[in-house]
Symmetry: C2
Subunit: 204 residues, 2 copies
Amino acid sequence: MASRTPQLSGRTVRVLVCTEKKTFVTRELAETKVTFEGIEGDRHAGLTRPADVRTPWFPKGTLIRNTRQLSLVSTEELAQVAETLVIPKVLASWLGANLEVAGIPTLTHLPPGTRLFFPGDAVLAVEGENEPCTGPGRVIEAHYPDKEKLASRFVKAAWQRRGLVAWVERPGVIRAGDEVKVMLPKPVTYGVPVEPTGKKAGLA
Amino acid sequence: MASRTPQLSGRTVRVLVCTEKKTFVTRELAETKVTFEGIEGDRHAGLTRPADVRTPWFPKGTLIRNTRQLSLVSTEELAQVAETLVIPKVLASWLGANLEVAGIPTLTHLPPGTRLFFPGDAVLAVEGENEPCTGPGRVIEAHYPDKEKLASRFVKAAWQRRGLVAWVERPGVIRAGDEVKVMLPKPVTYGVPVEPTGKKAGLA
């Protein structure tokens, strides 16, 4: 059980939501309620979602369980992205993030299955890394029109720093300023065997 | 994308269900439909479930998302458990498993976030290892009354061989004999920093 208690903690810097259809840019709230569907009213809320470019192994539009209800970014990683792009700042809202957290090292590297606990009962389960695309890059570019090719440079600059997507395991409230406790899953290593059908290949 | 295509495959040996309240022992079916709730009519089906001894970080009974809709065991691992216990066999049904698969090396070690694809559209997402408890051990003991302490010996014998729990990402049908393709999540390594609040600790 020792390996399944929170081992790390950070702080919720910002809570953000997007209730519009025509933009993914989020706006800041003091707090939000989360249900099994995600953030109430947010454009990514829902128990299910249609498969899209993020899940190319499904026919587009296939109804699948929604494991991308919320997106999270890290204050420290946003600063690194801004530094790489040589611009003053990259805001969480420009990336459509729902939560900005600080103090959790290399947030984007938290493995699938990690749980995030908030004092208002809410618990999020990490689906995995949010791979960067050019959409947020274009928003950043619009804020720094004198800089060249920010949209495409964003993808590379944000690689492994774009944060996470997660779904709600336990409903509750998340407030700006909240402590967030991190419970990592049991460490597992799995190697694909050299002989795909071999039963005695060298697995960890 | 290369890392997110199926890299391994196995075979569905048995499909099993338990529609009773007073036992967890499952019975074999030729096929079953799975919905976003799990196997229709199975005792572990549901979008949510009350927290129990498996999730001691929640107050008992707290309603949480059900990530334990189906349990899976491996033919090869069951044989290892039987060998360790020095008994002729351990059946998937005795453990209350819903699926028995063969040909996937060290099934129990598949990491959280792994996806399992079936030809009848169904896709399961792995929550993680199903830690062994004495319940199935008592069922095994009832089948081999001349053997001593099987119930308690089962827990140790089944350690890291008890299979997985999973939830339905995409509804469909699962049939005995089906091929099952395995898509591993992106490999991630995350180490807890030496200084819990340090931002520059040695993380992978």
